[in-house]
């Protein structure tokens, strides 16, 4: 199997309201796909459905070649939830949160083996939080907390990494940092699905863009150029007038 994610006619309803509607999504192994769309377009719900956190009302969903219902290779999955969940009010150091990224690989009642500790340290280094590993997560800034969540997912050395708005509230410098962190993973063959508001410095990594609108896929193809993306996203940049954008449709 060469498909990392395969969704056919996927539907998700939250409290009776259809949020994801008739979505077909296929991500090949090693591909980097960005999921774009305005607020409320169903991006996060789609991703939560893929992670098994909300149930699908209908549709055929496969993860890494296995039907989702039977999927149990959790250690191959990395998930970075939306900003804010790193600091849930529970006392925890950066190291403790990042170490929980090895949970799906670790055995019960035994201390963390050396290999796992090495993976945790590598993940901390990748997001430049090695010096702050013994600090409380609650005392970090929003951007740093986001990097803690990214490190937690990286620590699991996943084959399929799903990031939900990793750049929300993160400044340009750290957005460049995230791109640099993901590049070696992508080069070693990992599959990445990113929920994004705008592609920013990650654009150069992205192979394909899927745009959701009101829960449906309205575009699926090559990433748009910077200019057309600007126009696509911000309505006040009217100076970039073009005949057509690679995205085909109108503004979101």
């Amino acid at each position: 199997m060469t498909t990392a994610i395969a969704v056919r006619d996927g539907n998700i309803a939250l409290g009776g309201r259809p949020v994801v509607r008739g979505v077909d999504l296929s991500v090949r192994r090693g591909e980097v796909v960005a999921l774009l769309g305005s607020n409320g377009s169903g991006k996060t719900t789609l991703v939560r459905g893929l992670m098994g956190l909300v149930p699908w009302s209908s549709g055929d969903v496969q993860l890494l070649g296995t039907p989702q219902r039977r999927f149990n290779e959790w250690h191959r999955l990395g998930y970075v939830p939306q900003e804010g969940s790193a600091n849930s009010g529970i006392p925890a150091t950066v190291l403790e949160v990042v170490s929980s990224g090895r949970l799906s690989r670790r055995r019960l009642l035994l201390p963390l083996p050396r290999r796992d500790r090495d993976a945790v340290r590598a993940a901390l280094r990748a997001v430049e939080l090695e010096d702050q590993q013994h600090d409380a997560v609650s005392q970090l800034s929003g951007g740093q907390q986001q990097r803690v969540l990214i490190a937690r997912a990286l620590a699991g050395e996943p084959d399929l990494l799903v990031l939900d708005e990793p750049n929300a509230g993160v400044d340009r410098h750290n957005q460049v940092g995230l791109a640099a962190t993901l590049r070696p993973m992508v080069e070693s063959g990992a599959t990445v699905l990113l929920v994004l508001h705008e592609m920013g410095p990650l654009a150069e990594l992205i192979d394909r863009v899927v745009v959701l609108r009101h829960g449906r896929v309205t575009y699926d193809g090559i990433p748009p150029t910077d200019d057309s993306l600007d126009e696509f996203h911000s309505h006040h940049h009217s100076r970039h007038q073009r005949d057509r954008t690679p995205l085909g449709g109108g503004p979101l």
């Binding site: 956190l53 006392p91 403790e96 009642l109 013994h134 005392q139």
Partner: protein
């Protein structure tokens, strides 16, 4: 040590030590899950368990364990079904438990004295069998609470992430409740059912004032719990006061002492947290003269900012730049 000459005191100290270690270990998870009062609820339900034991001639500890585990499971199911009605459902269980207990103990011919020994503890009257039961149950609770700490921590810290990591989240939530139920029965003889919750919650609250991480919190809470329990029993030996109440008051005194320190620490950490680096900022030199050179002992708060240090004064952040200061 004259206190150790009395067998009943040795038994009391052993029971206190193990209760003091087990209660905060489980309590740490309850506090993180915002179920600080769950121990209280289980304590109420345990009264019915004790009553059933007295009525049937079984060991009250055994029947209390069974009834509280069933009650804890019920609370967990209610909690999972819907958070909004959770507290009402808990309240129903509380009152049902204590009313049922009082009724059954009355039927069994138990006196107000019997009831009181379970409600407020009677640590100086524990038998040898009681001590062994307390040690065995408490050791089991501590073993699971510490051994499964990475899993239980992940479930408390980020339940969604724990699910994606493939952890059986429902099982771990239920396990926490069952451990809480067992702990309540263990602590029943030491501090009593009405004060159990204090020993589960107060040491944790105290530890959190001073610790940064989770492991440090749970270990410190266990230490504080053991200290308060032993201290309470020893105090009650020399001064004629109720041991259960003394234990709880000592734990509270610990919190009262730790709170100002924690408050100060939080303020310091907040002020000293590094500033975010944004290389895109324009260069702004500080116009006014500096009467002194900023340094380790200048009295201004020094905060890490990328590769240098900012000095905070009068609402400004000043950083060295060649022969002048920059506004950062």
């Amino acid at each position: 040590m004259s206190i150790l000459q009395y067998d009943f005191m040795v038994r009391a100290l052993l029971a206190a030590l193990f209760t003091g270690l087990a209660a905060p270990a489980v309590g740490t998870y309850l506090v993180q899950r915002r179920l600080a009062l769950m121990g209280d609820g289980i304590g109420h339900i345990a009264v019915t368990g004790v009553g059933l034991g007295l009525l049937t001639g079984q060991s009250p500890v055994l029947t209390a364990v069974i009834v509280t585990v069933l009650g804890a499971t019920l609370i967990e199911v209610v909690r999972e079904r819907g958070r909004t009605s959770g507290d009402v459902a808990l309240a129903l269980l509380f009152y049902g438990g204590i009313a049922g207990g009082v009724l059954v103990i009355g039927l069994a011919g138990g006196s107000a004295q019997t009831l009181q020994s379970y409600l407020f503890g009677s640590i100086t009257t524990v038998s040898v069998t009681d001590v062994w039961t307390v040690i065995a149950l408490a050791a089991g609770v501590v073993f699971l609470a510490l051994g499964l700490a990475p899993q239980l921590f992940a479930v408390c810290q980020d339940e969604d992430y724990a699910k994606v990591a493939g952890l059986p989240v429902r099982f771990y939530n239920l396990l926490t409740s069952v451990l809480a139920a067992v702990t309540v029965t263990v602590a029943m003889r030491t501090v009593g059912l009405l004060l159990v919750s204090a020993l589960m919650v107060v040491p944790v609250a105290t530890a959190q004032q001073l610790t940064k991480g989770f492991k440090a919190t749970i270990l410190a809470a266990m230490g504080l719990g053991a200290l308060a329990s032993l201290g309470g029993v020893v105090t009650s030996f020399y001064v004629d006061v109720a041991p259960g109440a003394t234990i709880v008051l000592l734990a509270l005194a610990g919190f009262a002492a730790a709170w100002p320190v924690g408050s100060l620490l939080r303020h310091r950490r907040h002020a000293g947290a590094p500033f975010e680096v944004d290389p895109g900022l324009p260069h702004l030199s500080v116009p006014e003269d500096h009467r002194h050179t900023h340094g380790v002992d200048c009295g201004h708060v020094a905060v890490r900012h990328g590769d240098h240090v900012d000095y905070v004064h009068d609402g400004h952040r000043h950083a060295h730049h060649g022969d002048h200061y920059d506004e950062h």
